[in-house]
């Protein structure tokens, strides 16, 4: 297996903590604006989501009804390939005509035929790469814990902005905080200017109790 992306020369700051299950909403600015994950690229969207991230196939098929690869609506997730550096945005079903139009394989897909993801035969390099994931609407709460638990990479400025805008309630609810594996205190951490001069943060968040992907919706 080759490494399709040149790893960043400066390693990310590793930030890790535990929050109560309902705390996932605090991470929504990061989840909807997009975060980076390391993955094997050159595979199909479906393989990435189910095979690599471990999201139940049924959930992917029935719940993630709207998806974009590099701004292009995806219709066939089995044959659409994810390249290194791609952005994959995931959403539940959306309202209105445009919601129906953008829906995967939907009846109104011809309305946006010019921008749809086309199958392309050009060779795709398989290897380890970076994919940017965006989670929208209900998927933030449902899939956010999975990605946060695996660890996501965000810019240091986005991480700092998130912590600065989080209320005291959130800050005090975080436990088992560590920075580069050393125990730390979150409020002091933000004040210490630790993010200055850093480009990236690898954020891992554990939820208490663990948040499972809902099955009732399937």
């Amino acid at each position: 297996m080759t490494h399709a992306t040149e790893p960043d020369s400066s390693p990310p700051l590793r930030l890790r903590f535990r929050v109560p299950a309902e705390g996932v909403v605090a991470f929504s600015p990061l989840l909807q604006a997009g975060f980076f994950v390391t993955a094997r690229v050159g595979c199909s969207v479906k393989t990435l989501l189910s095979g690599q991230f471990g999201i139940d196939e049924e959930y992917v098929t029935r719940r993630i009804t709207t998806m974009f690869l590099d701004s292009k609506p995806v219709d066939k997730m089995e044959s659409t390939l994810v390249r290194d550096g791609a952005t994959l945005a995931l959403s539940c079903a959306m309202p209105g005509l445009v919601g129906a139009t953008l829906r995967r394989g939907g009846f109104y897909a011809p309305f946006r035929a010019g921008i749809s993801c086309k199958e392309d035969d050009s060779p795709t390099r398989a290897g380890i790469g970076t994919v940017r994931i965006k989670l929208f609407n209900l998927l933030m709460g449902e899939l956010g814990p999975l990605f946060l638990g695996r660890g996501i990479i965000v810019t240091a400025s986005a991480m700092e902005e998130l912590l600065l805008s989080s209320g005291d309630l959130f800050m005090t609810s975080c436990s088992e905080v560590s920075v580069d594996a050393a125990p730390a205190e979150l409020t002091a951490l933000v004040k210490s200017g630790i993010f200055k001069g850093r480009k990236k943060v690898r954020l891992t968040v554990l939820f208490d109790p663990p948040v499972e992907i809902p099955e009732d919706d399937l």
Partner: protein, 578 residues
């Protein structure tokens, strides 16, 4: 709903009320009622603000019943903004109350000979019209506060703000919500200016002592309504997405698709989009003690609306809808939800269409009146509209007039009505509807995404190039039909995906009227409405040349997909071939 009230505002000796049987208009409701009356009774060359124009107010076919989602109110006239026939609808309580009062339509006719301002009170005992000049140039929130002192809280109000009195072309008619706030607007096409031209400031609808409209077959109706509600609740859009985030759930998606018109349609992606998203909005509303889930009228089970509070927890406005967040947000390069909420409040208070108002501000920004992104400047400009300054009057007449006055080339209007929040270059099918609708650019004209289930026009092969034209045609037919039922258009997702929910809707209509209703009947109704509207527009001087998008959509490719609008004129001209 067995009667029609006609109020002649120009009668000698003051306004005159005539109440008749429904007669030739029997069986119609909502848009079908307003459009067929206007097409039949209004001279197509009438001046929209003159005595010959009429303002028809009609509840939907199922309004005033115990059925869910039945509270849309249609208002129709010849539009002062577009010059075409116009139907503009809103939620709020008015439709339910008017229907229970037994009126299938209230028609405002003529023009007063004095400049007195009137209010109309309708209750079970009849219709009373009185002069009330104390309301002059008051905006909607203070007007409602004053009227509540007189008529109380158990009524529904329809009012115009200062924009309607000034006959601005984007003036709306406000309908109060269950909390008696003037937040639900028949916004599009300047219907508020027509009410202002008739000298009417407020309509007070009081159904005290009256019951729900009884269905012909109560048991079947109850059963159909139960199935209909179940269908709405179990669908992920109507049961989860819309209640949790409202229509603004679309911001992230449109932005991701490159179809979010930014800074007056110069790009399809807005870098500040996620700050304006429905997700961010809902989180803020909950954090500040507002509501992310709220119904605009009693009997709504989807509840796509909400309550937006300021940082101190004080009410600012109802949850701004996607189109409003776009018009005042990304279209103007503003990424601040508090500014958008303030602008939404001002629009509701002054009484203007949030789409045309926001688009006009963006066009003014493009002209250099204020820079894109100027939050305080945008608020100042809308306040000018409320003050009625010359600049405010220009802006309050919408994007088309604003573009002309300031010499802007890129003016996103069709038939002088501003395009809503979906760029027709990446999503070309919606451009077909914008161009060809009878109403001027309007996303809701082709919104009823149930055409596959209705089999309008037979089975469409979406892979054929003409598929977009066919789909747009079918959408417009289905929408005209649903607009006539009084049902909120957001039911469309559930009836598209769940045949049993569509059947439940047909059963509701059938059991209420004691008839058997089929999908074909729905299609026939939609075609009848559209044909009447097209015929009116033709007689008013509209031709195929008006069924076009502005030229820049054909010549300026938009990022990130670098597409121009590519549907040919011949294809557009075939939309209404049936």
């Amino acid at each position: 709903m067995e009667k029609i009230a006609r109020i002649n505002m120009g009668a000698a000796g003051g306004p005159e009320v005539t109440v008749t049987e429904v007669g030739e208009y029997a069986g119609l409701g909502g848009r079908a009622m307003t459009s067929i009356i206007i097409a039949t009774e209004v001279h197509p060359l009438a001046h929209p603000l003159g005595a010959e124009n009429k303002l028809v107010i009609a509840p939907g076919m199922l309004s005033g019943t115990a059925g869910a989602m039945t509270g849309r109110l249609s208002v129709g006239c010849k539009s002062p903004l577009t010059g075409t026939i116009k139907e503009s609808n809103a939620g709020g309580q008015a439709a339910q109350v008017m229907a229970r009062l037994g009126y299938a339509a209230v028609i405002l006719e003529g023009k007063p000979t004095t400049d007195d301002l009137y209010k109309i009170h309708i209750n079970k005992d009849g219709i009373t019209i009185t002069v009330d000049n104390s309301l002059r140039l008051m905006d909607n929130y203070p007007v409602i506060a004053k009227l509540r002192g007189e008529y109380g809280d158990k009524v529904a109000y329809m009012t115009i703000g200062s924009a309607g009195e000034r006959k601005l072309l984007t003036a709306s008619i406000a309908c109060t919500d269950p909390e008696l706030r003037p937040t639900r607007h028949c916004g599009r096409g300047g219907v508020g200016a027509v009410m202002g031209a008739k000298g009417i400031k407020a309509i007070i609808l009081d159904d005290a002592g009256l019951k729900m409209r009884p269905p012909k077959d109560p048991e079947r109706y109850r059963d159909a309504n139960r199935k209909f509600v179940e269908g709405l609740r179990k669908h992920p859009v109507t049961g989860e997405g819309l209640p949790a985030y409202g229509t603004n759930i679309l911001t992230n998606i449109l932005n991701e698709a490159g179809g979010y018109p930014t800074r007056n349609f110069k790009s399809g992606v807005y870098e500040g989009g996620s700050k304006l998203s429905g997700e961010a909005q809902a989180e803020l509303e909950i954090k500040r003690g507002g509501k992310a889930t709220h119904g605009c009228h009693r009997g709504c089970v989807i509840q796509c609306s909400g309550i937006y509070n300021d940082a101190q927890g004080n009410y600012v406005t109802k949850q701004p809808e996607y189109e409003t967040v776009w018009s005042h947000g990304g279209h103007c390069g503003i990424d601040d939800l508090d500014t958008v909420a303030r602008l939404d409040y001002l629009d509701d208070n002054i009484g203007v269409d949030t789409i045309d108002m926001g688009v006009a501000i963006g066009v003014a920004m493009d002209a250099g009146v204020i820079p894109f992104g100027d939050k305080e400047g945008a608020i100042r400009l809308v306040e000018e509209v409320g003050k009625g300054t010359p600049l405010g009057r220009i802006l309050g007449c919408g994007a088309a007039i604003t573009g002309k006055v300031f010499g802007v080339e890129r003016v996103p209007v069709v038939k002088d009505q501003a395009l809503p929040a979906y760029d027709p270059r990446p999503i070309q099918g919606i451009g077909v509807t914008y161009a060809t609708t009878t109403q001027g650019a309007d996303h809701t004209a082709g919104y009823a995404i149930a055409t596959n289930i209705l089999k309008v026009g037979g089975d469409v092969d979406p892979l054929k190039t003409e598929g977009q034209v066919e789909l747009s045609r079918n959408l417009q037919i289905a929408t005209a039909a649903i607009d006539s039922t009084g049902m909120c258009l957001f039911i469309a997702f559930a009836i598209m995906d769940q045949p049993e929910t569509f059947q439940a809707l047909l059963d509701m209509l059938g059991s209420f009227y004691g008839i058997t209703m089929t999908g074909d009947d729905v299609v026939a109704l939609g075609k009848k409405v559209l044909s009447a509207e097209r015929d009116f527009n033709k007689r008013a001087g509209f031709t195929a040349a008006h069924d076009r998008l502005p030229r820049f959509f054909y010549t300026e490719a938009i990022e990130p997909h670098n597409q121009v609008f590519g549907i040919t004129d011949e294809e557009l001209d075939s939309v209404f071939n049936w």
